[in-house]
């Protein structure tokens, strides 16, 4: 039930985003119940939990993607650098440029690789001429670890790449607009192990420039990549803390049961 978990003392360092008392309803059904969470700046926060516990729903609250679903109602506050993102004077478009998203199934636009990465900078007016645009695209592809593989064929369709390359293209597309936070909704679940390893390596490098929140089904992945972990169950946060502590010495019994594989 409405058990308030105090998450504010566990983080050392800057806080990039804060969620306070988030309730989410799909129609009459309540999906999230009094969620309180702090996202640390330039760190990787992992959200783990069994299927249907509300992790993706919470992730989508952070960049207001739930606005596109008609039956979804969000109550509570989410702040980005102390600014309430659900207030009337926050422009959703600007928010989504500052909080980017990578989806579970790679979804590049049916355009060329160059146009895929350049689309965001173009619509936000981040480049004033072609050279600047080229620089942004090259930098994004390099940071996404894709540049070496596609530099010769930037005009080929984005959909002609392999699954892992497509996902890295989506990551490049997300970082091309220089967001502050990158949200990743199970980014590796549709990829083979080698591509997964590449993306995990990438996440580790990306945290230097961006704050990352990753939802994952794979506990070992959470243990590998994240610094903070939140365990969700039945629409609530059961436990939140530093990854090492959660996985070696969890405070809650439910956390212990989930990690040891008793349920999930």
């Amino acid at each position: 039930m409405g058990q308030q978990v105090d998450n504010h003392i566990n983080i050392s360092g800057r806080i990039r985003m804060q969620a306070k008392n988030i309730d989410v309803f799909y129609g009459d059904k309540q999906a999230l119940n009094k969620i309180n969470l702090d996202i640390a700046a330039n760190q990787v926060t992992a959200l783990i939990g069994p299927s249907g516990c509300g992790k993706s729903t919470f992730l989508r609250c952070l960049n207001r993607m739930n606005d596109t679903i008609d039956s979804c109602k969000v109550k509570g506050d989410v702040t980005l650098d102390q600014r309430d993102i659900y207030s009337r004077d926050m422009d959703v478009v600007e928010l989504r440029a500052r909080v980017g998203m990578v989806f579970q199934k790679p979804n590049p636009f049916p355009k060329s690789i160059f146009d895929n990465v350049a689309y965001g900078p173009r619509i936000h007016g981040l480049a004033h001429n072609r050279q600047e645009l080229d620089k942004i695209v090259d930098l994004s592809l390099k940071r996404a670890g894709l540049y070496d593989e596609v530099s010769e064929r930037l005009n080929t369709p984005g959909t002609s790449l392999s699954g892992g390359q497509q996902q890295r293209l989506c990551i490049a597309r997300a970082i091309a607009i220089s967001p502050e936070v990158i949200l990743m909704d199970e980014p590796c679940s549709a990829l083979d192990p080698i591509a997964t390893a590449k993306v995990e390596e990438l996440i580790d490098e990306l945290k230097e420039h961006y704050t990352i929140v990753i939802v994952t089904h794979n506990m070992q992945q959470a243990a590998r990549v994240s610094q903070y972990t939140a365990f969700f169950h039945l629409g609530e946060i059961v436990e939140f803390g530093e990854t090492e502590k959660i996985f070696t010495n969890p405070a809650e019994k439910r956390t212990q049961d989930y990690i040891t594989g008793r349920f999930g």
Binding site: L95, F103, N107, F109, C170, R173
Partner: protein
């Protein structure tokens, strides 16, 4: 425990053999039914096309007679004024009469002379007038010119008349047949490709009737329809699909649009008559009214086709665009619309092809009148191709039978071309993702 042993059900027993045979026979029957249905459809199509083509192809030749015409200045321009109005109103029929009576000097008596004149088309004198007005130097010369023959001669030349019936049941009398034979021996009859079928408008004389006016009328009507229905229909569909809130009002609108697509087209004709002609006082029989009426009729089809095309765009593309910070309008115009374009174009062209063939609404707004001038613009009275076919099918003259079928062939050719363009455009714009 339920006995799941397989011995009774799946082994090679007689029952399982029978079951297998029954299944094979049922599949074979199903295939035969499908094949029979396809064959019946193809046979019907073949009968339809062959009957139309066999009746229609003679219309593409027209019969001409060679006459030696003396462009006598004493008849055409006795005062040597050499101006347009004199030459326009000169008595060209007299030139024809002189030529024919010279060719057949044995013909005497009013009745026979009239009968001889009937061999040439009543519009032949206008053809002579055209020649003189184009080149006044032929005044005073003697020329052999080819002039359009009358419809009865035309049909005779194309072997379409019965020769072995009684004279009083025929259009051509025995004397006329004798004269025609004389013309044959002199090589003065020929059939040429009937270009005037495409350039002339409707006429009471079947030998000079053409679809030119109807083609222009149809063209103006379709252009007006297309220019209006494409932006309005696509914009409406985009709004309903992407921007409208999902409440009972939009459901109500959607149900009504779907119903409108099934309304008989003649009802739209009544609507056009009541609103465009009686309330707005637009000119009757004009392509503008036809275009507006057909626009109303085609609008539901375009809206439904566009909505289907837009909703077929995968939501993952939209989410990706939202995730990069695109606004709703940017998502629709940069991503959804380009991906939905093949479906939209196909729906538009299919809607246009349907509008091209619609007769009933055009009848109601008056495009059924007998129009002899080719329309110069959308506000002139005109007729449309399907209506022209309808009018000719009603005509009693025999010469119109082949014209009707030929006009049907032209209409079918247009429809096939438009559908082929639709398929080509769909292939070209289809992006595979």
């Amino acid at each position: 425990m339920t006995n799941f042993s397989s011995s009774s059900n799946w082994q090679d027993s007689e029952r399982s053999q029978k079951r297998i045979k029954q299944r094979y026979r049922a599949e074979m029957r199903f295939k035969i039914y499908g094949l029979t249905a396809v064959c019946i459809a193809l046979v019907m199509l073949g009968i339809l096309l062959s009957s139309i083509i066999s009746k229609g192809y003679p219309a593409f030749t027209s019969t001409e007679l060679a006459l030696e015409i003396h462009f006598d200045q004493k008849i055409l321009d006795p005062e040597n004024k050499n101006d347009y109005s004199t030459l326009y109103s000169a008595n060209y029929a007299k030139l024809l009469r002189q030529s024919l009576f010279t060719m057949f000097p044995e013909v005497a008596g009013r009745k026979d002379k009239k009968s001889l004149l009937k061999l040439i088309s009543s519009t032949a004198r206008f053809e002579l007038r055209e020649m003189v007005l184009k080149n006044r130097n032929i005044i005073g010369t003697k020329q052999t010119v080819w002039l359009t023959a009358d419809s009865d001669v035309d049909l005779f030349h194309k072997n379409q008349t019965h020769r072995d019936v009684n004279e009083n049941k025929r259009r051509l009398s025995n004397k006329q047949l004798k004269w025609i034979n004389t013309l044959y021996t002199k090589n003065a009859i020929r059939g040429v490709f009937n270009t005037s079928f495409f350039t002339n408008s409707d006429s009471r004389e079947p030998e000079v009737a053409g679809i030119g006016g109807a083609l222009m009328g149809s063209l103006f009507t379709l252009i007006i329809t297309l220019v209006l229905v494409f932006p309005i229909g696509v914009a409406t569909a985009i709004y309903l699909e992407e921007f409208a809130p999902k409440n009972r009002l939009t459901d109500f609108i959607e149900v009504n649009i779907n119903n409108l697509a099934a309304v008989p087209s003649i009802v739209f004709g009544l609507l056009g008559l009541a609103i465009f002609i009686q309330v707005f006082h637009l000119p009757r029989s004009a392509p503008i009214v036809g275009g507006l009426t057909l626009m109303l009729m085609t609008l539901p089809i375009i809206i439904i086709a566009t909505r289907a095309a837009l909703s077929a765009v995968p939501p993952s593309i939209r989410e990706a665009a939202y995730g990069v910070g695109a606004s709703k309008i940017q998502v629709v115009t940069h991503h959804v619309l380009p991906l939905g374009l093949p479906g939209i174009l196909t729906g538009t062209i299919v809607g246009m092809a349907q509008a091209l063939g619609e007769t009933a609404p055009l009848l109601m707004i008056g495009m059924v009148a007998f129009i002899v001038d080719t329309p110069g613009g959308p506000f002139d009275a005109a007729t449309a191709l399907p209506v022209q076919i309808f009018l000719w099918a009603d005509s009693p003259e025999r010469g119109f039978i082949e014209k009707t079928s030929a006009a049907i062939m032209v209409l079918l050719a247009f429809l096939i071309t438009m559908n082929a363009i639709a398929i080509y455009l769909r292939q070209k714009f289809e992006i595979r993702w």
